[in-house]
Symmetry: C2
Subunit: 448 residues, 2 copies
């Protein structure tokens, strides 16, 4: 298993190779790299930026140990002087980032890093890995929260997430995205999110009689949720009702349906519970749910009070990757850009200005040069300087969640829906447009 202290070696070889070349050539000028995306995935109206805080913490603590240096020697590519440079490596740069939980559109940077070029280059894959994971998962989870329209959505995704790091960090992203609770004990404790859970089919099966399993659970966990679909949901709920009527001391908070026609089963179970005198017992649904199925269930007025969601959010199943790019936009004060076919980008360090209307909704964004003034609220703010996280820039997780929820609520209604919607207009400032033109002219020299 990977040890956390080995994080500095979790790089792509070319990053170390390029860093050694910069070191070898004495190229120590500052570079600016921008992390952004050119296109939204299908089925996404925005990206919810997330992961900036965690990567800042990683960067602050990153050190190459003697053991790392020894291991790098095995690759027979690195010179003693460069290994010495790595030995004394401390990230000395700055990070500007949008607050976590900010909805973004193409060409808007999630994060910009400024540092001596070798430092910034070494961190490429690590920064991308951190921000990509959390943004991918938050961007999916917010759709589930929106589809559930105020009903709780509980994360059941641990078993399908890609590894234990994802299984942990996901929950913080889900909290920012507006989910209500998680089944994940460690992550729930670490990120102060409600931890809940019910029972598995195996528990019911381990008893000769389903009702006996329910009674054991209710005795131990008053107000628990019973999983009723191991054999036959309606029959199970009828038996639960009979039991509860005979035993007023027993307390059940909810039932959970995990298979079959959830709308029909929920309706029948609701009626059985209501007729039995238990209108306060809630109905939870799970089993292959995604935002579309949730929306359909609610459109059919299925009497479901909350949803457990696993695979859909655990791997962001319909868009498990964002085409995030980490692009050099400035070196030694010179604007930089690539001119490969079909890939538009803009040089220079940037700021995004967001204009809200009187109703608090986004009217437009402007991507501008970092030093420009433009109408609206600037989204990128410094979170690290000289390799240190700035104190008090990022508040408590609870205040971050509030900020994220407010930022999400500022999206125009169509963007809060599940169907593809017209994006917010994203303008490029005149300065940036001119800078792109000038930089392309310089670049054109390389094509001749």
């Amino acid at each position: 298993m990977m040890h956390q202290q080995d994080l500095p070696l979790l790089v792509d070889l070319y990053e170390l190779a390029m860093a050694q070349a910069y070191w070898h050539e004495g190229m120590q000028d500052r570079a600016v790299f921008s992390l952004f995306f050119r296109d939204l995935p299908e089925n996404r109206n925005f990206v919810l930026a997330c992961g900036q805080r965690n990567i800042a913490e990683v960067l602050e603590g990153l050190r190459f140990s003697e053991d790392h240096i020894e291991r790098l020697k095995q690759l027979n590519r690195f010179q003693p002087g460069f290994l010495e440079w790595l030995r004394s490596f401390r990230f000395s740069g700055s990070l500007h980032a949008v607050p976590e939980g900010t909805p973004l559109f193409p060409q808007e940077p999630l994060l910009e890093i400024e540092a001596p070029i070798a430092e910034a280059q070494i961190l490429e894959s690590l920064i991308m890995n951190y921000v990509h994971l959390e943004s991918v998962l938050a961007t999916k989870a917010v759709r589930l929260a929106l589809a559930a329209d105020g009903r709780p959505v509980v994360d059941f995704g641990l078993r399908r997430m890609h590894g234990i790091d994802a299984g942990h960090r996901s929950v913080r992203a889900f909290r920012l995205a507006g989910l209500s609770a998680t089944s994940n004990v460690l992550a729930g404790l670490d990120f102060d999110m409600d931890v809940n859970g019910t029972m598995a089919h195996s528990f019911v099966q381990a008893y000769p009689d389903e009702l006996e399993a329910f009674k054991v659970y209710a005795r131990l966990y008053p107000g628990t949720t019973l999983l009723v679909d191991t054999y036959d949901s309606r029959r199970a709920v009828q038996r639960v009702v009979s039991w509860l009527r005979e035993d007023p001391a027993a307390k059940i908070g909810a039932i959970r349906l995990d298979s079959g026609d959830l709308a029909a089963e929920a309706r029948d179970c609701r009626r059985i519970l209501d007729d039995g005198g238990f209108p306060e017992i809630r109905i939870m649904a799970s089993g292959g749910l995604d935002e579309y199925r949730i929306a359909r269930l609610l459109a059919e007025e299925a009497p479901i009070d909350g949803f457990g969601v696993g695979t859909a959010i655990g791997v962001a199943v319909d868009a498990p990757a964002l085409e995030l790019a980490y692009k050099l936009t400035e070196y030694a004060g010179e604007p930089k850009m690539k001119s490969s076919s079909g890939k538009v980008s803009f040089p220079g360090r940037k700021q995004v200005f967001r204009v809200l209307g009187d109703d608090g909704r986004i009217v437009r964004d402007t991507v501008a040069g970092r030093m420009e003034k433009a109408e609206g609220q600037p989204l990128l703010e410094p979170i690290m300087e000289d390799g240190r996280i700035l104190p008090e820039v990022v508040g408590s997780l609870a205040s971050q969640v509030d900020g994220a929820q407010q930022a999400i609520a500022s999206l125009p209604d169509p963007l809060l829906g599940l169907e593809p919607a017209e994006p917010v207009p994203v303008q490029i400032s005149d300065y940036l447009t001119q800078l792109q033109r000038d930089t392309l002219a310089v670049v054109a020299g390389q094509r001749r």
Copy 2:
């Protein structure tokens, strides 16, 4: 960031809740849970089972610390006696598993666990998380290796993988699946896979002149690969050829194309290199490649000698999840199964027998009871007993890779292609069919 020692808390709450119920009720009989899948994802002809070795190591070392116990108390659900049970928790069960790198079909267990029921229940999410990740990634990667038809496929996926654990373990899965190399330094070193890499566009951009960047790299890394598409690939290769003809000391191993019409660019660059007298310089391609694009490039006879693949394998983008199920199949010697609508499974502990034809290809599989004899090679073998990994059952990674490659090569040709193919016939033994019938009859009592 998650600390590795916190792994025991990376569970779904219901697992601890069920375990406490079993503890409370004194239910200590042995349970068998089977990890299998009911259906293949679209675009997959088989699942390449992977991850069994890593989870066995996790299980062997799993201990709840005082700190874990203190944290669990915060949930206000656990009784002192149960926390005491957790404090002395050691996995005492056995694991049977197919060798890593075995292609499997629906209903064939990847792994079966046998242990006192509370132990086996606690481990559900962790076992699934481990085996799911590695199997998902290996199952995708083998398709890339097959599509490349002997040409090297290099893993460039770290930046898009879901977190650092995936970024590490993936590479072991890729090696078993038949990839050639990785860009990932740590994982390459840990899993003894070739580490390679070239340069990023940023490196070229950092120099005023593209050729100057190439010269720096070639001087430092003789035989390196040059990324030629930052501005204009053909023009760049022409300049490289002129330079190499002037400077016979310079050695270039390959060029890499990362954008545009890869087939056309490769053809033109090949001609420029050949005409210039450098037929030995290879052409690598990357940039949004998946198995279909690779197959198309080869069908068009694009002169490409190797492929770098990122997103496609990094998140198994078209099927990032497998619907793995972890199902109770036996408790206290009694066969168990669920009878929810539409979900077929079989009770009891199992064995899979694989029959090969004279050509070494799979003719059929039989899923049978564990104690049955049937024609063919049994696939499941014990890898842990009494909570300890059996020595010498799992060989070196190199021998595992050989075994995996042999197992993959035993698939009938259509299954080795990219298009959906008729699966290998999977028979269910008469004994298992009868056991299912008998168990359903018992279960039916619960539905009345």
